[in-house]
Amino acid sequence: MPHYLDDWLMAFLDSPWNVIGVALFLFGVVLAYVWAPYLRLIFKSLRRNPLRTMLMSAATMKLVLSIISIWSVLWLLDLVTTERTKDFKAIVTERWQIPSQMPLSYERILQDGAAVKPGDVKPQNIMSWQFYGATLDAKKSRENLIFFFCVDPAKVLPMMEDFRDISDQERADLEDAIRAVQEDKRRIILGRDCLRRINKQVGERISLFSINYLGIDLDDCEIYATLPEGRLTLFGLMHRDRLNNALDAYERKNGKPHPLARKSLNLVWLQIPDTVTYGQLADQIGSSSSFTDPAVKMETASSGIAAFLDAYRDMLWGMRWLLVPAILAVLSLVMATAISISVRERRTEMAVLKVLGFGPTPIMLMVLAEAVLIGTVSGFVSACGTWLVINKVMGGLRFPIAFFPPFRVPLDALWWGPMIGGLTALVGSIVPAWSARSVRVAQVFAKLA
């Protein structure tokens, strides 16, 4: 078995939901085999009123689509705010102020974890971030604004999880681009959407006029490559030395440092092996006398993001607890209406089946199965379509929340779809199925006579 398939399988089986889903699916297949004659009846009855079947399935698809879209957003937000206990990152920023602006000298101290005495721990690795915003023209028109992360290129691949799942080809390209930037610091790498927005090609040279570092303009930047699709698609990467050298040059030329010279470090990532080390590092950094002007704080990446999301708390709550349930309710109602109509139309037929010796429970199960079949199949089709359209065509959902890039639909959506469709159909068809179960033969025929 190829190793990536093996990895995928292991990852898949990691989630109990996946295992339950597969088990249910297999159970369904066995049931279908045992119940083949019933199944034929179910298919026939679905084909009898194709319009209604189509309407039900269209409703399921559309509503499943919207739930998957919402869940994709919530899923990622949950994922990034879930605390990890192993191999996670801590973020160091200015303690009180937003935006965080620290002196670059903090980096070296943080590299040692602000260790002062023997026995103090160090982070496994660190990566520091400097933000540089600039436009392509001196007039500073917002349309061609580029926001750069000035970083040490050597840290990009080891530290940034964004590039963990890219293809081998993309990785090779990125490695090549990083090597090139290390060789010539004037080279920059841009996200694809960023490149598209400023309407430039790879290979072109541009001049940058800064909007946050007034007076630090950078000429002759060569767009060397693009970043793989992902979170950074709207941003650019630049060698940190380019900015820091320009700041030094400013001081030499003007005789005094740039106003932001002591505030050029925006945040620092620390790679942490486990929670024990995290606690120890937090103590060291918190009690260090090196961080006084300004004071700093260390937090896990997830808690940092959670603080940002606080502003959206009510909206996210509404999406999770009002919107999604409401959509589910509407879907079950549509199902309930459709199935109850179909049962009412087929009362005679059900009576005939009862006369032929079908028990009430098989009849009820047939109605349930009919609904669940429509729901599951439509849900699955919709999930595949949503995944394909949002990820491959739209390049992610652009939801205006904090600094998040377009949201992608996770692969898990492929089981969310059939699950949502099947369960709502089941809920919606319970009452009509019960009424089908309790059809009274004598009554139906009395009415006909």
Binding site: L63, Q97, D310, Y312, D314, A326, V330, L333, T337, E345
Partner: protein
Amino acid sequence: MSILVKILLILVVGFGGLIAVAVALMLLLGCGLTLVLLLQFLGVLRRIPLGYNLRNLFVRWPTTLLTALAFTVVVSLLVMMLAFVNGLFELTQASGQTVNVLVLSDGATEESVSSLGYGDITTLNQYPAIVKDEKGEPLISWEVYLVVNQPIQNAKPGGQQRRFLQVRGLMDPARTGRVHNIALHPGGAWFTQAGVQPLPGSTTGEQAVQVVLGEGIARVLGTDQGKPSLEVGDVFPMAERQWIVVGILQSSGSTFDSEIWAKQQIVGEKFGKPSYSTVVLRTADTDAARRAAQDLSDNFKPAVAAQVETAYYEKLNGTNQSFLYAALAVASVMALGGVLGVMNTMFAAISQRQKDIGVLRILGYARWQILESFFLESLLLALIGGAIGCLLGWMVDGWSASSIISSGSGGGGRSVVFKLVVDSKILLGGLAFSLLMGNIGGLLPALSAMRVRPLESLR
């Protein structure tokens, strides 16, 4: 891969276009039918009695209920979402005065990134367009706006640990209050010249920083201490100091509702932002404000960015707009549920009432009258569901929520506490939306009812 993507794109766009055209046609037809309905009710055109539809709805009440319920859910949610967005819009509209000019540093678009060097800019105090109070002092407010990241007091373990607080440091709070037309709730006072007072009950002689709180943030901080709201005299910790509430602002409905006001020197030093970020000047009237903003932007040295205060807050509408579009997008997706529900129901109703239709046609009713009758029935269904939905949605009016407002161009933004606002416009919009769903959903079945052949239906 890219070919596949293109084909998919063409399919999606093409399909979307087709659907859009179909919906547009249906809407047009639906409007026409609604007009005819109106004429029928005015007695200009003859119609099948309304009682016929009402009673049929009543006779098959379980289906009616289920279908109407779908409308209720969709409409109530739409009303709630619009109330959220509306509250935000009202907030940005109510914040700021048309006679005030807001001055930020050159190039700054938001207060949080503005920094005015104190020394060079004091000449603003003498700017001629500023109106004077009765003592002859200019009505000008010097402020520093800060966002601080703060651990939450008594945070639940595993829950959220930190939040952002908005702090505004002021030179003269009473004057700032006058410039912004904001008064204190009775029982409160502005903070003193010193800005500090002895911490009650402290044996070490610790000084607490005096603050004035917006109502919204007072509620938020109150929840941390298990009270509905902080009151005058309450103390809370922030940035390793104790802060004592001396007044609560009558700030409901403005962005100041989410702010903590304190002495500028103290917060500037504490949070490392010693200069001012914002100067707000009061002028005589709207016109004067506009002229002063223009003049300051063009001619003042050192360069500043000046704008009428209301214009500044209007620019913070960007996210509201996005939320509005998102709400409408979600509602229209959910609307499909209502539409398909009513379609199913009406198709079934029509197939059950083939004979009725046949009889009516034989008695002399025309096709269009049959069409209108069934169309009306869908609208009735929508109206029942929609009206209940509006009532449910109305309940959120006045609820408190927090969100963010920003110009929408990435980053920045300020979190605000605000009230959801349901007004007549939203309620009518909800009803109209509901009728629209009924309209689209009812059209096809009604058209099919029109095509019933009377003789065959009676056989």
